[in-house]
């Protein structure tokens, strides 16, 4: 599948050996990898349909090294692609053939846990779950919980503004980060925020989080940690139609209840999961809802009752409440295993990520089924029902001549539909390369130009992760030009004060 990436810089490629030597002076020994074999693990991230060997791999260990590497690359006009654990599902860490792949995995230390201020200061290569593990003995945790949390890094979470099952109640990465240390492409090291609630000045964190490695390289993160809720109970509810399940979701929210998490699975997803994880899911329902209530025990039990009533009134055909922690985890085991479960029933699958207004779910599911027939590919749906984030899993076989191509066309149609019904292209996986060319379905050229100019403010040479997020590359000088209108006083008929 052809993906247009920025034009290769032949002059840089010709100097590869010299560049490797220069980088080795900054990151000595095994810190620079240049053999084809040793670079193979870095060729791809979680979007495995695309592979590109980088020109070189650099694995710094300190902020000073990151700063010097970027400064050198800036001076020499060399592109840089940052990488955490490489679990991105949108190609955010897909290397450039003429670029340096900058891996942050060696930044794996927890620098400080401050329970008085309820924050943890960590290096970007620490895994998401690793943060929770560091504070769980004291009864705390780090709330955003993307499904890949065992492997994905907090630096990557910052780049993608990762979510997870519990972000409905506890927010996404954006709402849980208080500060970062960021190295700009020029090598400048800036510190934004800290342990206080607001950083002061322009809200730089609001664009750094979710910037997909285009604005700077994160070398330290300060995150909020929360006391674990006293209790958590889950309700497993089956519905005869996805409309009924969707209606139930709307009524729960309409009743003023914000569950800790609310997930939906359709029939194909339920069956695949049950075959694999044996969590005890009902097999004769069209849609399964898992609703988790967490908090003080009294509140939990009260809300569980109310949610059960609402589900009953919406026509639920099966309903089970968890009565122990073991049982609650079992309810979730199936949902958490959904992706690997689907991987069992198909050689490959393409995981989509779009967000829609919750009420549009039945419409989008119906249309997805039509598209499944049009493209002759099976699809299973997992849905963060609480916040409208949809993950259609399109099943295909890369070895069959045009199945990858059909899967991508199918996916693109789903994403366009998401935008059509008032939603967005990506809820938590990021734009990367995967959805880059669909950006014009959501944003006009003027809209995109405002975003690209912001990028120029951080990286005026466009050397950090080019070819991701924005469909067309523009030079910063070009973007900066203003078209001045002729000087008529506006709306001359209106009264002046």
């Amino acid at each position: 599948m052809s993906l247009v990436m920025p034009e290769l810089d032949r002059a840089v490629l010709d100097r590869r050996a010299e560049i490797a030597a220069a980088l080795r002076k900054i990151v000595p020994g095994e810190g620079v990898i240049d053999s084809v074999e040793a670079m193979r693990p870095y060729e791809s991230d979680g979007l495995t349909a695309y592979r590109t060997p980088p020109m070189l791999v650099a694995l710094p260990e300190t902020t000073a090294q990151v700063s010097e590497v970027l400064r050198y690359c800036h001076a020499e006009g060399i592109k840089v692609v940052p990488r955490g654990a490489g679990t991105s599902l949108s190609g955010g860490a897909l290397p450039l053939a003429d670029g340096v792949l900058l891996g942050l995995a060696k930044f794996n230390r927890i620098l400080e846990v401050d329970y008085e201020n309820r924050v943890a200061v960590v290096q970007p290569g620490v895994t998401n779950l690793g943060i929770t593990k560091a504070v769980e003995a004291a009864g705390f945790y780090y709330a955003p919980d993307p499904s890949s949390q065992i492997a994905c890094t907090i630096g990557g979470n910052v780049a993608e503004n990762s979510g997870g099952v519990h972000c409905l109640k506890y927010g996404m990465t954006m709402n849980n980060v208080l500060g970062v240390e960021l190295v700009l492409m020029t090598g400048e090291v800036v510190r934004v925020g800290g342990k206080g609630f607001d950083a002061g000045g322009y809200d730089l964190l609001s664009v750094i989080v979710g910037s997909e490695g285009l604005l700077g390289v994160v070398t330290e993160v300060t995150v909020r940690i929360l006391k674990k809720p006293e209790t958590a109970r889950a309700l497993l509810v089956g519905f005869p139609t996805s409309e009924a399940a969707g209606d139930c979701v709307a009524k729960i929210i309409g009743a003023g209840i914000i569950p800790g998490g609310m997930e939906m699975m359709d029939r194909p997803a339920i069956h695949a999961s049950e075959d694999f994880a044996h969590a005890g899911y009902p097999l004769d329902v069209e849609a399964l809802l898992i609703v988790e209530l967490d908090g003080p025990a009294a509140e939990c039990n009260h809300l569980l009752e109310r949610v059960s009533e609402i589900a009953r009134a919406c026509g639920a055909t099966t309903s089970r409440a968890s009565n122990s922690e073991e049982e609650r985890l079992k309810f979730w085991a199936g949902r958490k295993a959904a992706f690997p479960a689907v991987g069992r029933i198909s050689p490959d699958y393409y995981c989509m990520d779009g967000t829609i207004p919750r009420a549009k779910l039945p419409l989008v599911l119906a249309r997805t089924r039509e598209l499944s027939e049009k493209y002759k590919l099976r699809v299973a749906n997992v849905f963060h029902a609480g916040d409208g984030n949809l993950h259609p899993l399109i099943l295909y076989d890369a070895n069959q001549s045009d199945e990858l191509e059909r899967a991508e066309k199918f996916g693109a149609e789903i994403l366009k539909l998401c935008v059509e019904v008032g939603g967005v292209l990506t809820g938590e996986h990021g734009v990367g390369v995967e959805k880059r060319d669909l950006m014009p379905t959501m944003f006009s050229e003027v809209d995109l130009a405002h975003q690209e100019r912001l990028k120029c403010a951080f990286d005026d040479k466009g050397l950090l992760n080019p070819g991701k997020v924005f469909p067309k590359l523009h030079r910063c000088a070009e973007l900066g030009r203003m078209h001045i209108r002729a000087g008529k006083l506006p709306f001359p008929d209106l009264p002046r004060f």
Partner: protein, 403 residues
């Protein structure tokens, strides 16, 4: 006396800003002007008044989303939400009375541009955390949109959140989409009496480290508590903890919280109505309203450092102060118009930032109203400003010289 341009809609805003950019005329951007006295004092050629761009565009309670034109009165939005038992969870502050004006006069655009967040910020996040989408006109005179109407959205940069707290220096907002949430059914406030500032911060830190879901943690020394009707009768310093939710949950959590706090001092309870009045007073810094132009600072710091910072400032200046956000927000009222800027900056040498929220125009013409930036951040800030407003026509110098 500057001329005022009053656009009727986005197209008019585009025309006005494009014209100003072409003529290199500067614009003071206001909604209803309730906060025009906050920021560095600067002269502008025209005032751009967006208050006619008003009206709720979309409100879907079950989707937890509201889209509203930026010039709409915040009071109108809050009433519409209350009718469906919903609210803006970040509890936007109303600085009208503090600045010597009317209450309830501000606009939604102004609220977001100032990132006004109240006591519940510690639990629900700030105004910016609830900004989902925006339509605006940049200083280039170009209309653009960013974000969307859903919470989980990582499609491109989150410009709605960048515009929050930018004080009208990057773009003129015309429409804002906000996340709305159910309002709590009930509320109560546990109070500890007579704590000194350091002990109070300790108590607040302990409470925030529990699973009691405290949604407001504040401390008022005796002389400031005396000015709040709902707690004046307690005749002591007041350290307050808000519990919101359904009645059985509040009862349960109250018991746990009181067990934790009992060792600190004498306990009291504010029932629902008194609670609401109390937190409203704190939200709007009402103890310091009616102080004329005596300087008022709003300071953000790491919560556990609150008492140290507050103590240093009080000792150096004789200021009165009170704490919100479990110690992470300090309101400081100076004895008179002098801002004592040096003392403030020195107290914050270890981290945090201070904003001069109330001061005479003369003081605001010379003081650094917003915390000075490090050279790297200052340069980045200027570049971001230039990317949105290359001619520097929108609220020039409002936040920093040259921005």
């Amino acid at each position: 006396m500057t001329d005022t341009l009053k656009p009727r809609d986005e197209r008019d805003v585009v025309e006005a800003v494009a014209w100003a950019a072409g003529e290199e005329k500067t614009l003071e951007v206001v909604g209803r002007g309730t906060k025009r006295a906050i920021g560095r004092a600067a002269q502008t050629d025209f005032t751009l008044d967006a208050s006619d761009i008003s009206g709720i565009v979309l409100y879907e309670p079950e989707e937890l989303v509201l889209s509203v034109r930026a010039g709409t009165k915040l009071a109108e939005v809050e009433a519409a939400l209350a009718a469906r038992r919903q609210e803006l969870a970040f509890e936007p502050a109303d600085f009208g009375p503090l600045l010597g004006g009317e209450a309830g006069a501000g606009t939604v655009g102004g609220m977001l541009a100032a990132n006004l967040s109240g006591p519940r910020r510690i639990k629900a996040g700030a105004a910016r955390d609830h900004a989902l989408g925006v339509k605006a006109v940049s200083g280039r005179g170009e209309a653009f949109k960013a974000g969307g109407r859903v919470v989980k959205n990582v499609t491109g940069y989150d410009l709605p959140k960048l515009l929050a707290g930018s004080w009208g220096t990057l773009a003129v907002m015309t429409e804002v989409t906000l996340k709305v949430l159910p309002a709590a059914e009930d509320v109560a406030t546990v109070v500890v009496r007579g704590l000194a500032d350091p002990q109070a911060v300790e108590a607040m830190s302990a409470a925030m480290g529990t699973a009691c879901e405290v949604s407001g943690a504040a401390h008022l020394p005796k002389n400031v508590a005396a000015r709040i009707p709902s707690v004046a009768a307690l005749d002591s310093a007041v350290t307050a903890f808000r519990l919101e939710g359904i009645a059985p949950s509040i009862a349960y959590r109250r018991e746990k919280l009181e067990a934790l706090l009992r060792p600190f001092g004498k306990l009291d309870l504010l029932p629902a109505e008194d609670s609401r009045a109390f937190w409203h007073s704190l939200r709007d810094a009402l103890p310091f309203a009616g102080g004329g132009e005596a300087a008022v600072w709003r300071i953000s710091t790491a919560p556990a450092a609150g008492a140290r910072v507050g103590g240093a400032i009080a000792a150096a200046t004789g200021a009165q102060l009170f704490y919100d956000w479990a110690g992470g927000l300090i309101w400081v009222a100076m004895p008179d118009e002098r801002p004592h800027e040096t003392a403030i900056r020195e107290a914050l040498a270890g981290g945090g930032h201070a904003t001069l929220v109330r001061a005479s125009a003369a003081v605001r013409a010379s003081a650094a109203v917003f915390e000075p930036l490090t050279p790297d951040l200052a340069a980045l800030t200027r570049r971001i400003k230039e990317s949105f407003d290359p001619k520097g026509i929108l609220n020039p110098g409002r936040m920093y010289a040259g921005v």
